[in-house]
């Protein structure tokens, strides 16, 4: 297919546009289906699958990110004799950026892929069509509980990531590198604002929860119903979700912290 041929170009543009339209329509159907929350046992099972099972990888990653940040900031600030400020730097960078972003990337890899593969295989096995035959809406019965489960789980995971990261930074800075514990905490508490830093970080993580879960579900729902198609859709989930999270993060940061 060559893009110099007007017919091919038109076909590509039209198919992209219709992809976009289908995606937007699915997003709207998921959003407007707050009734999905009414069947709470379904949502609860998804929170269990997406949230509880991701807890270990999120907590361990947070711990190591905190360790590394403690070491790097200590090294950088040592030459200015400002090593007490490591605490505030760790807490600000975790709450504002790293917590939501790294959690979203890990969540896309850990939970998003499994969502895509599950939905894609359901489609390939014609389970979704079978549901439609029985007058059960697969978007309401299958997709919506997964969507809300992911949206609920993501902010919690991000909060756990930040908390464990700060504890990890404390472990490296206070007992290992010998920064005074009082200065570490008091600088952190003076420099971190509940609404501006923590609140905006939570908003970010909620937005990323919507993004990652929706991308995963859309890729699964629109996958070619073949083994190859499902595998491609799973790969696309990670790529598209990661890029979307990073781009959205830039936009959100520019909006929230520009002043």
């Amino acid at each position: 297919m060559s893009f110099w041929n007007p017919a091919d170009l038109g076909f590509a543009v039209r198919s992209k546009l219709s992809d976009l339209g289908r995606g937007a329509r699915l997003f709207w159907r998921l959003l407007s289906d707050l009734g999905g929350l009414r069947r709470f046992s379904l949502v609860r099972d998804q929170v269990h699958f997406l949230g509880n099972y991701s807890l270990a990888i999120i907590a361990v990653s947070g711990l190591f990110v905190g360790f590394v940040m403690g070491l790097q900031y200590f090294y950088g600030l040592q030459r200015y004799g400002a090593t007490e400020s490591v605490g505030v730097l760790i807490s600000l960078s975790l709450l504002r950026e790293f917590g939501p972003v790294i959690t979203a990337l890990l969540f896309a890899g850990r939970a998003g892929t499994s969502l895509t593969a599950e939905i894609g295989l359901m489609k390939a096995g014609e389970q979704l069509s079978a549901m439609e035959m029985m007058a059960v809406d697969p978007v309401k019965r299958v997709l919506a509980p997964r969507f809300w489960g992911g949206v609920i789980a993501m902010p919690m995971l991000s909060a756990v990531f930040c908390a464990v990261g700060i504890l990890g930074g404390w472990v490296v800075c206070v007992p290992l590198l010998g920064i005074d514990a009082g200065a570490f905490w008091s600088q952190m508490q003076n420099g971190t604002d509940v609404f501006r830093d923590l609140g905006n970080g939570v908003i970010k993580s909620i937005v990323f929860g919507f993004t990652v879960t929706f991308v995963a579900l859309l890729q699964g729902f629109e996958a070619q119903p073949t083994p190859e198609g499902v595998s491609r859709a799973t790969t696309r989930t990670v790529v598209v979700a990661s890029l979307a999270v990073l781009a959205l993060d830039f936009l959100l940061t520019a909006m929230m912290f520009s002043i």
Binding site: H48, S91, L157, I166, D197
Partner: protein, 169 residues
């Protein structure tokens, strides 16, 4: 059986998430220091506020007694109107004076209140005019240089003294 098990685990997960948020709010963002106490606002006129920003601390004897609420420019007097929100439980005499101070050599600026001697206290809406502006380093340096120059001209040995410099500033 399966269901109740899931319930417990999801409940635990939510609990861990809430605990993490609580930890962040209390330990790192220090929610407890947020004041939801009532405040009264007092306006102060400064010639120069330096790098003062809204939300800066107002301290008396080193203790935080309020925050800077807003800073506007008064184009009648060509001064800065700084609105302070002082906590209701503290009251200060009417003739208290305000200074813009700096914590440490390179630290951030704050407003210090020095209590006066008058019987009456500052009320909401009062204006404080006995203020001392922020120290602007450039002015300080130029003052220093001029006074050096004034001292040095008779000897003519001071390198900083330009020949044309007037004796009096």
């Amino acid at each position: 059986m399966q269901r109740s098990n899931n319930d417990i685990w999801v409940g635990l997960f939510v609990l861990i998430g809430a605990a993490a948020l609580l930890f962040l709010a209390l330990q790192s963002a220090n929610l407890l220091s947020l004041n939801f106490q009532k405040t009264y606002s007092v306006t102060a006129r400064f010639d120069n506020i330096g790098g003062l920003k809204p939300q800066t601390a107002v301290k008396s004897a080193g203790v935080v007694v309020g925050r800077v609420e807003s800073i506007t420019f008064n184009d009648k007097l060509f001064q800065a109107d700084v609105t302070l929100a002082l906590q209701n439980r503290y009251s200060f005499p009417k003739d208290s004076s305000l200074k813009i101070l700096t914590s440490g050599l390179l630290g951030e600026q704050y407003i210090g209140i020095e209590a006066g001697a008058e019987e009456k206290n500052l009320q909401a809406g009062d204006t404080v005019t006995s203020t001392q502006s922020a120290v602007v380093l450039e002015n300080l340096i130029s003052q220093f240089l001029f006074s050096k120059a004034a001292d040095g001209t008779p000897n003519a040995s001071n390198a900083g003294a330009a020949p044309g410099t007037p004796n009096k500033k």
